[in-house]
């Protein structure tokens, strides 16, 4: 693994660190997606969808909060959900790179949601039986929301893919250009050496995910990119794209201007 751009990242974890790492993956994914979706507010293609996307954003940020609250308990001391969201830099964030990709147009946002929502659906379904009770509880609560999100984004992929010639072309482009960020979701990770089997191994979801994605893409009359294409990596180790800096700068600006304040 040495010699690539992930040279030097941390690969040894104690069991305590591994548990936190797992929580950070899920929490940062949720926060990042919620944050990105929230900037659609007042810009949706039709009022009903403005409402839908705000609602989805609320769900993601709500889930992020629950996970950060658990992390704050593990960290102890002065750490809170807000210090975790607002006072970590890019190196601390563990979200998959897919989620920091820009909103782009409606089709880009839908494609990004479709890839992650489908993943989340299988992940959280299994996490309901996680040995970590807190995580199992979050999964139980979140699964209904995630099922709705996965249905919403898949329906939009179909609608746009099988809509007009223009929307078909746009949807295909969106999927093609986001595809290389999807592989990271299924990476093996050294933290798993320290976690029991009920912490769902992401790689175990790859097959069922590919199957579902393929079905939807087919129904949308689109072409599925090859799963064998080169995939990007880094987010799970804190190595990010340039996009993340701007997202954090915007999100954290006020909180960091007044570090002593409570809101």
């Amino acid at each position: 693994m040495a010699g690539g751009w992930l040279n030097g990242v941390k690969r040894d974890f104690t069991s305590e660190e591994a548990l936190k790492e797992y929580f950070f993956f899920l929490a940062d994914d949720a926060l990042m997606l919620g944050q990105q979706l929230s900037s659609w507010c007042s810009k949706g293609p039709v009022l009903e969808q403005d409402i839908a996307i705000i609602n989805t954003s609320l769900d993601h940020i709500g889930r992020a909060r629950l996970l950060y609250q658990e992390l704050a308990k593990m960290e102890g001391g002065e750490v809170t959900e807000d210090t975790l969201a607002y006072f970590r830099d890019h190196l601390g964030f563990r979200n998959a790179l897919l989620l920091e990709q820009p909103n782009g147009h409606w089709g880009d946002t839908i494609a990004r949601s479709f890839l992650i929502d489908t993943f989340n659906f299988y992940l959280f379904d299994k996490l309901r039986s996680c040995s970590n009770k807190a995580l199992a509880g979050v999964a139980e609560k979140a699964l209904k929301e995630i099922a709705y999100q996965a249905q919403w984004s898949a329906e939009w992929v179909i609608r746009l893919g099988d809509g007009t010639e223009e929307s078909h072309h746009k949807m295909q482009q969106s999927i093609n250009s986001l595809w290389m960020w999807s592989g990271e979701l299924f990476e093996a990770h050294p933290m798993f050496d320290q976690l029991d089997d009920s912490f769902v191994r992401f790689e175990s979801l790859r097959e069922v995910w590919l199957h579902k994605i393929g079905e939807v893409i087919k129904e949308a009359t689109l072409i599925m990119p090859s799963p064998e294409l080169w995939m990007q990596t880094g987010g799970r180790y804190g190595v990010h794209t340039s996009e993340l800096g701007f997202i954090l700068a915007e999100m954290q600006s006020l909180a960091r201007t007044h570090p002593e304040a409570t809101w």
């Binding site: 926060l31 007042s42 002593e260």
Partner: protein, 318 residues
Amino acid sequence: MGTNVSLEDKFQSYVDAENKVEPKDWMPEKYRKTLIRQISQHAHSEIIGMQPEANWITRAPSLRAKLILLAKVQDEAGHGLYLYSSAETLGEPRDKMIADLQSGKAKYSSIFNYPTPSWADMGTIGWLVDGAAIQNQVMLTRTSYGPYARAMVKICKEESFHQRQGYEVVMKLTQGTLEQKEMAQESLNRWWWPSLMMFGPSDDNSPNSEQSMLWKIKRKSNDTLRQEFVDKTVPQAEYLGLTIPDNDLVWNEDRGHYDFGEINWNEFYDVVKGNGPCNKERIAHHVKAHEDGAWVREAASAFAEKQATRKNKESSAA
């Protein structure tokens, strides 16, 4: 002609007896037009009002604050939708209302033509702007047009929740650091007078009011509502330790109300005419979102048509 007069008389006595007018009832054309104007204006205000607050969602300083603000803006979008539907019961299609908003033919509440440079504005808007809106909307729960009155009952519940949340944001600022207190006061300084303007021109200069009162669309005059708002808000500001930016503000024992200074009506009329700091920006934002979404809406209709055709084929084959 004679029939017309008697229909209108009948309508007036129906309304006078506190009956609700329903979509299929006969109503004077001007009543219908007035309502379409007012309800669509109200819907547009909810929709344009999303912008100054959406402006802070991505920068909200805590996750809890972000969730509350998101939920609030979502409620506003919902109110907009609800009100557009209510206006549609009068025969006005939503597309036309949107086109009128974008062309400038239809108005929305002028308060949203002011910017939100400060986080404190998220509190002040909830406290003052939603507070002023409630003053008006509580009255409208008893308005004579049924669908509008019922929409208002639901909307008022959520608005009063928003007002409490806004007040809480301001309260946290006033209990916080020196900078936070300054933020709260600075925000109040900017929003106080535009909030008073929300009630519209003074009674002597309100062209549409008299007929609306007669038809019980409107049930209290602009100045009455404004006075109620001032009386209610001054003690709230005192409790927060904030100073209302009006040197003429004083309790009048004889009237049992606060006296307050003169509104700058030039500013009011200029902002209404389109000269506020954000008039152009608000409409441009709405137009851009609408145009950017055109291909999405077209795709959705094309897909729906295809689905319908497929369904027809299936059923004729079966």
